[in-house]
Symmetry: C2
Subunit: 332 residues, 2 copies
């Protein structure tokens, strides 16, 4: 039941004051070589490990950033987390991840808790919150990066170039002479679906086609959701010849729905996804999709935060756009 070693214990053993121990270990003020050696020795002997909670209280820095995502089980987000980690770990920052199921209440609750915990920065991949929620819950003193969201100009933001991605995807289909193209989005106003929709719409317009309401269907961002939505779509009298999907999980669900319905992919139904999660290249047939560099997204979020936390940048909000590109496999 040995209690933890404190800075006073080290000081006592080295025969100096806690002040000197602190300075010796942090190097913030010079310490005589002999004292330095004694302190290091004592700290070593006792196995001293500074209490970060106490340190954080005093310095008002926790060396922690919060990452809020809708669903950590969606393979896109672990890759984001990885990119973020790799961007900030070298500077001693750690990440706390919150998975919120895209529920506004949960998002707000987690955000609030992170503020109470004095995290140094926050990265939000949020679905259900609005700008006013963010500014209400997050004090201005905490740097905030908003990702994959079309809601704010008041904060740093990182976005994949969604419109360009779906536009390229849609053009790829049009170039094959396919014109009956539907877009499978997520719930209205939630997630990147709406921004991806614009690229599709644009490409269609510039081909002289005006998509009707029935060309745009809504799902959630899961395999099961995609399967069901596309299943219904395929049972229509005149189903489309191709689908542009708001993410890969929906697209994978679409492949399942096509198989269920005995529809050949890509011969009778071309399918394009978005994200390029690992599974996209593994499904059968391998999915044609828009690469959305999750790792890079996470990394850029980390960089924007570090700019404010370490470099001391204090200017106006900045916006980073991460390019996307189409990777053609076997479904379109």
């Amino acid at each position: 039941m040995s209690k933890p070693v404190t800075i006073s214990d080290v000081a006592a053993r080295a025969g100096v004051s806690p002040t000197t121990v602190s300075h010796a270990l942090s190097g913030r003020r010079s310490v005589s070589p002999s004292a330095l050696a004694r302190v290091k020795q004592a700290a070593d002997d006792l196995g001293y490990r500074p209490n970060q909670v106490a340190s954080s209280l005093r310095t008002q820095r926790t060396h922690t950033v919060a990452l809020i995502v809708p669903d950590i089980a969606n393979p896109y987000y672990p890759a984001v987390a990885r990119g973020l980690h790799d961007a900030i770990a070298a500077d001693g920052y750690y990440t706390t991840i919150g998975s919120t199921d895209g529920e506004r209440e949960t998002e707000l609750g987690f955000l609030d808790e992170m503020v109470r915990r004095s995290v140094d920065g926050i990265i939000v991949f949020a679905f259900a919150m609005g700008e006013e929620d963010l500014t209400r819950v997050v004090p201005a003193r905490i740097p905030l990066v908003v990702a994959t969201h079309n809601l704010t100009n008041a904060h740093d933001q990182v976005n994949s170039d969604d419109p360009a991605g779906t536009e390229t995807a849609t053009r790829h289909l049009l170039a094959q002479g396919i014109t009956e193209i539907a877009f499978v989005s997520g719930p209205k106003g939630r997630g990147p679906g709406d921004r991806r929709l614009t690229g599709y719409t644009q490409a269609m317009h510039s081909a002289g086609i005006v998509p009707t309401a029935s060309d745009i269907i809504r799902s959630d961002y899961t395999v099961a959701g995609g399967r069901q939505a596309v299943g219904e779509l395929l049972s229509r009298p005149r189903p489309p010849r191709a689908l542009v999907c708001a993410n890969d999980l929906i697209a994978i669900g679409a492949l399942e729905a096509a198989r269920d319905a005995g529809v050949a992919v890509p011969a009778d139904l071309a399918v394009i996804g978005f994200d390029d999660v690992d599974a996209a290249s593994l499904v059968a047939p391998p999915l044609t999709t828009v690469v959305n560099p999750a790792y890079e997204m996470g990394r850029q979020c980390g960089r924007l935060l570090l700019d404010r936390l370490i470099e001391g940048y204090d200017g106006p909000p900045r916006s980073v756009v991460v390019p996307t590109h189409l990777i053609i496999r076997a479904t379109a």
Copy 2:
């Protein structure tokens, strides 16, 4: 630049002392109805949010548990994280995840940092650490759950029933009259490969077959690693007729290797994985695999911790075994 509201600010506005505010909000001592009302009103008006860092310093509780995994991008672990989250969130605990690439140094570094941060509990899915590492770095006062590891009797542990899983898988192959079965493991002494190997060996023995060294090949736990290892295996003069793989990613790599080599699955090569990650049912052909309930593993880890953190259990280490079962799809 409004600075955060402190308990003293609330006290001042309510016309009471900080003590009373604390008691009013925590309910740890009764407070007169009038004072209670004034405190609540003041806290509300000011938007008071108690500083958790200060609270943690005083109470020695952070309401945080650390989860250490080798690779958060391996889809098995997000599911674990999810199960853990669901087990402990209701009691106000949050999770900090560390991804260590299975490097001993990284594992130890993260563990050390978590101790400095005074987490209330630690869950280790570790690859490279030994028992003595754990006891050295983690003080006895912090509850520790070791998962998927064969190294300790000194701590609570949670394991999937790995031997039973691979034994069932191997018997499934033997029952089809297949006897040339290889086992594709991970690096020696790292991860669950060795425990899964024993089930395979047992089943083979009880069928009167003694696997030779060349029947057991080593890889890492990734798709790329599995592809390469199995690719080499298939170029042998007499390749095996079936594979039992230490995890799904290896098995998926094996499917790719088979495709590369023009070997038909399952006709010429049967493949069985382990874990049943989401992608397992999505690959072509869908993977026959042993279900390793990640979510349940995480949940059980959380329960063991809470038992000590909340229920006050203080007895000897306990061991939970989560059952596994074979799910037959199309590769064996």
